[in-house]
């Protein structure tokens, strides 16, 4: 028995890593090699694909655009969700539970439902093809999520902490910024992470609401062919680079997420 305990996890990891390895593998090949033969590792190793992405504005601006609206969305979602989650965790008011549930139901509809109304709406107020448009559209999903996660963390903090701070002389705003936010820093980290992730991977709304100026990287990547024909190596390199920010963020919040699981949220 003992000898095979490594087997299952190893197989599991191989299956998990295979697509990522293949992407990485392709990104260092030329398009001809990808189309012409089946090779387990690059025969003609090249970094041309990466060089192209970092020098061609139509490519690297995709990343810049994505990062701009994703960051803006994350900050906005968490900033709006903080007071909302505080209200839900600390006060009882008529319909509070219904309101909380209604917020969550916003996540239940597929984004495609909102593509048309958003397109119309943002065009009408001249926000089409701006970073703000995408960031705002994504808050529809991210604010409920952030409220839900933060409410869980906040409810884990006894209300006696608030009272102790008031007794010590803290005003509400000062308590909120100096005491409460540091206390639930882990929750804010987790909420920000999920907002970042959803906004980063969401393609449909981002693509519908932009054309040139704010075009996200994922939309750029769906451009499979260009005047030069198929550019599979280039696409693979772009894909590899798209994974990196997510992996990077996960690395920083991994401990907090475990804590979030322990609290029954996330």
């Amino acid at each position: 028995m003992r000898r095979v305990t490594w087997l299952v996890p190893t197989l599991y990891i191989i299956f998990l890593m295979l697509p990522i390895y293949w992407l990485l593998n392709m990104s260092f090949k030329t398009t001809n090699e990808i189309l012409g033969s089946f090779t387990l590792w690059p025969q003609n190793f090249t970094v041309e694909n990466y060089v192209k992405i970092f020098t061609d504005p139509t490519w690297y601006m995709g990343y810049v655009n994505s990062l701009i609206y994703v960051s803006f969305n994350t900050v906005l979602s968490v900033a709006v969700a903080l007071p909302a989650a505080y209200a839900f965790s600390r006060y009882r008011f008529t319909g509070d539970k219904h309101l909380f549930f209604w917020l969550l139901t916003n996540r239940m509809a597929p984004p495609a439902v909102f593509a048309l109304p958003f397109f119309q709406l943002y065009s009408a107020i001249n926000l089409f093809d701006t970073h703000i448009a995408v960031a705002l559209a994504h808050t529809l999903f991210n604010i409920p999520l952030a409220v839900w996660i933060l409410e869980g963390f906040m409810s884990g903090v006894p209300k006696e902490l608030d009272e102790t701070a008031y007794v010590d002389g803290y005003s509400f705003p000062r308590f909120f910024v100096k005491i409460f936010i540091p206390t639930i820093a882990a929750g804010i980290g987790v909420a920000a992470f999920f907002c970042f992730m959803f906004s980063w991977v969401e393609l449909l709304l981002a693509k519908t609401l932009t054309s040139v100026e704010a075009k996200p990287i994922a939309a750029t990547m769906t451009r499979t062919a260009s005047t030069a024909g198929y550019e599979l190596g280039l696409l693979a390199a772009a894909g590899t680079l798209t994974i990196i920010p997510g992996a990077f963020v996960i690395y920083f919040v991994r401990n907090y997420i475990a804590k979030g699981f322990a609290l029954g949220r996330v």
Binding site: P158, E160, L161, E163, T164, A165, Y166, V167, D168, G169, Y170, S171, R174, I179, P182, T183, A185
Partner: protein, 355 residues
């Protein structure tokens, strides 16, 4: 300086949490709020602190109406049953926090925090975070924060309840010393009568949102003015029985009868309620007027040098607290002596018959 509650009431929705209450606490006094869980101790403290607003009535402090004054402006401090500290701050910063908010110069903060830390044996922990401390040390930190600002009103809401036995005893012994040379009003909430007796001072007995009685602790224990007050202020619970007076004798059903003491001689014949504290019901003859009762043992709890014997007497369940180990079998007959000279007599409304 005094804290006065005038007709203070707290309602939440249709429920009344605190019925109209009048209470006057003097400067430099140690006051215990004694009552079971949900008796309203915490609510009363939140009202005193100004964290909750009374639905009715006024709160006066130092001759001023402070009913609508925010807690931040009241110079109170509070310690909770849970160990409440700011988790992201060091113990030093936790203790210093009220002084920092008040804008005390940092040299003075350092000096005051260090002296209070010394008093509460926290000096070696000052640079740690609360999560790295034991429960007892966490509660000491909370206590230090409450003491450092020299509040006029210090509220301690069951501060020892979550500590284990040893730490509780230790901190309990230190408490009176901490307040010895302060002239603040201390309010201490507890469910345990023994703590109230230990601290002395004044005690208010609470029952279902009412302050039943308020007075010097010793007097309140010896002569509770009210049967509910006597029940709250007794652990194990005080033994209660319906009795009647017939001429020169008190009669407790078929179980017992005993002569009426001279001081009760003027009472009219009729029904009364008897209250006997468990330590006046013993396995051995004791006191000035021992009366024999026979009961069936339900359960015996042994606690080192004492036995707590729960027994039935007719339909009533009584408790005896006797010296020595008496391992009665369940269901066996027991002969016990009730010292009627120590008994309390209450009239039909539950008021103590003064004598």
């Amino acid at each position: 300086m005094s804290l006065e509650l005038r007709n203070v009431t707290k309602r939440v929705g249709a429920e009344t949490h605190i019925y109209p209450t009048d209470l006057k606490l003097e400067a430099g006094s140690f006051n215990t709020l004694l009552g079971t869980t949900l008796a309203g101790k915490t609510t009363l403290m939140l009202l005193m602190a100004g964290l909750e607003r009374p639905s009715d009535g006024e709160i006066w402090f130092d001759g001023k109406d402070v009913t609508g004054v925010a807690v931040q402006k009241r110079n109170v401090s509070m310690v909770y049953q849970q160990f409440i500290n700011y988790p992201h701050l060091t113990v030093f910063e936790n203790i210093a926090s009220p002084l920092r908010v008040a804008g005390t110069p940092s040299q003075a903060i350092k000096q005051r925090v260090e002296s209070i830390a010394e008093l509460l044996k926290l000096t070696p922990m000052l640079q740690r975070r609360p999560s790295e401390l034991s429960g007892g040390q966490q509660q000491r930190t909370a206590m230090a924060r409450a003491l450092v600002k020299e509040a006029d009103l210090v509220l301690l809401d069951e501060p020892l309840a979550n500590l284990d036995f040893k730490l509780r005893e230790e901190l309990r012994d230190e408490l009176p010393r901490l307040f010895a040379d302060r002239h603040c009003i201390v309010v201490y909430a507890t469910t345990e009568p023994s703590e109230a007796l230990l601290f002395g001072g004044h005690t208010a007995t609470l029952y279902e949102g009412r302050v039943v009685e308020f007075g010097p602790t010793g007097t309140l224990y010896r002569k509770p003015g009210d049967i509910i007050s006597a029940q709250v202020f007794s652990d194990p619970p005080i033994n209660i029985a319906k009795i009647s007076k017939a001429g020169s004798e008190f009669v407790l059903g078929p179980q017992a009868r005993w002569p009426v003491a001279e001081r009760y001689a003027s009472l009219a014949d009729g029904d009364y309620t008897l209250g006997v504290r468990p330590h006046h019901v013993t396995t051995e003859k004791a006191g000035a007027l021992p009366v024999v009762v026979d009961g069936k043992v339900m359960v015996t709890e042994l606690s080192g040098s004492e036995s707590i014997i729960h027994f039935t007497m007719g339909e009533r369940t009584w408790v005896s607290q006797s010296h020595g180990i008496h391992a009665f079998k369940v269901g066996s007959d027991a002969r016990l002596y009730v010292d009627m000279a120590q008994a309390l007599y209450f009239d039909a409304d539950g008021r103590l018959i003064a004598a």
